[in-house]
Symmetry: C2
Subunit: 336 residues, 2 copies
């Protein structure tokens, strides 16, 4: 059994006794059509259950009304939530979302970008800003509007909707310093090709420097954003001769992993060691003690990004929107 043959615009035209052009206008620019005609056409459309053929429409109009999002992984709640809002906003405007994930891998991301462009995406949502020049060139040459999210750089030549990872991390570190911490350790996500991760480390280093603490006294260790692997990294950190009084983590998932491992090892948090997270995921609020973290406006980023892409401004002059973060103080960070 073959795919049923669907009614075409011509069928509708015949039934409504108008030309296909009128049907098309009726569907796309209704106000350019007389009301009486419009009614006839609408009636024919409903009776026939007509719905325009996507390929034909894309071919003829050179637009797909489809937008792509390439994120590191949907398995991380922060991207999932942002994506959710992004999609909601697209849907509100009648557009559709194409998704794929890059696993924090630039080469894969590049491939996905090309594939989405080939698939006719009218615009792209990308995470962060570190990627090769060639792919940026490609994007420019194809003239595909792009918005970079989750990072912020006022001097970027691209659309950005994000926040200052470094400043947020700096604020968090300052808070810890104010509480008397001097011996820091940083459990970061992998920093290669991940500007968010590296900025967060830099923020902490900057805070230390500003407080006359040698930034190099803070060991930085990298681990994937996973509970188990963060736990292992934590053990490594704690086995060093000079133990940190605080472990700052690249995100909440890592912080929770650290907390869990600490509990297993009988290390009291925050009594023996303080922990901080990043992102303010739900998970940070339900563990005991709650994780002190930075709230990141994921949903806002998703929405704003979509709006930007949908507006025509995206193609015109790029705009940079900085969103605000704030500290969420819970009990995993305490005075030393």
């Amino acid at each position: 059994m073959d795919k049923a043959v669907l009614p075409t615009i011509e069928d509708v035209a015949k039934r409504a006794q108008v030309s296909t052009a009128t049907v098309s206008r009726c569907l796309n620019t209704p106000n350019r059509v007389a009301e009486s005609t419009r009614d006839k056409v609408i009636a024919a459309v409903t009776e026939l259950g007509y719905s325009p053929n996507f390929g034909a429409k894309a071919l003829a109009s050179k637009r797909t009304n489809t937008y792509g999002a390439i994120i590191p992984t949907m398995a991380n709640a922060i991207f999932a939530k942002g994506l959710q809002t992004f999609q909601e906003t697209l849907t509100e405007h009648g557009a559709t979302l194409l998704v794929s994930s890059s696993y924090y891998n630039n080469a894969i991301e590049e491939e996905q970008i090309r594939s989405m462009v080939a698939r006719g995406a009218d615009g792209l949502l990308l995470i962060g800003q570190s990627r090769s020049d060639t792919i940026y060139q490609f994007l420019e040459q194809q003239n595909i509007p792009v918005v970079l999210a989750w990072s912020f750089d006022a001097s970027s030549k691209y659309n950005m909707v994000g926040f200052d990872n470094r400043a947020a991390s700096l604020k968090l570190a300052q808070k810890a310093i104010a509480l008397g911490h001097r011996q820091f350790a940083f459990l970061s996500g992998e920093r290669e090709n991940n500007d968010r991760a590296s900025e967060r480390v830099k923020g902490a280093q900057q805070a230390l420097a500003a407080a006359d603490i040698d930034p190099n006294s803070m060991p930085v260790i990298e681990a994937p954003y996973s509970i188990t692997e963060a736990g292992e990294a934590f053990e490594q950190l704690m086995s060093s001769p000079v133990k940190p009084s605080i472990v700052m983590c690249g995100n909440d998932v890592q912080a929770v992993g650290v907390l869990k491992k600490a509990r297993e090892r009988g290390i009291d948090v925050p009594g023996d060691v303080s922990i901080t997270g990043f992102d303010n995921l739900e998970i940070a609020s339900v563990v005991e003690p709650g994780i002190t973290t930075v709230h990141v406006p994921h949903r806002q980023m998703g929405r704003k990004s979509a709006e930007l892409l949908l507006s025509d401004d995206a193609k015109a002059k790029p705009s940079q929107t900085e969103l605000q973060t704030y500290l969420v103080e819970r009990d995993s960070l305490a005075a030393v």
Copy 2:
């Protein structure tokens, strides 16, 4: 500045000194083309940076190589993870993923289904099986392959890749009964149009009945899958004259919400009340005490669903794949 004019198949044909037909074959069915010609064509393709126009291809071939997934929400880790694997599998096979979410709302889902079909999706991933006849008819009439996931029904006339929600819940309840629990309460997700949720409740009821406990002695209260709202529902449950010794929750998020509220209210878990979850999300493993729950093979479901959709079997005779769940015993469930 306009979208740069891209090379077409004709440009490639000219450059390679062959016909467009040959170029097309070279790209789609390379083994039907002599190797020497193939080389020329490939060379031309690379030199020109050619990539076939999506709309034209879709129009001419009546296939988009694009699959749609409509899930309740990406903000719930269980769907996000399944979706992630689903997408991975599609990508491995060169296909692309279209995503949208229905917020557990049938009317919205219907709209999304229609929209995806209109967008030329070659197949659809849908969650659960409760939806209107009209939309099923629509799907059949359009002859779009569909796989229903997260539920299982061996007698379904559609492709299914899922697990037996009822049986899993039943097993969990039996475990509790064996531990001496007699006074149950069930905090369910909203059951309307959600077969997974209702099956889970039924499983528990069935276990009670089998143990000669009146199923009606178990209050069932519904709440959204959110930590806060689950907490509120829990208070309501605990304010009843006859207090439950165990609260079974529709999923882990609710279980965690309950746990959190219990902690706030000084109710000991599992001392004063036991709690169970469902899904085995990470969140269930990091709280204290860990939540006893049911492991659900989300990733497997995502992968199997994609494979099924990509195979030609999906259109032929529908197949039902039942995946296994298992109990994950932690400390939130204890003897009464």
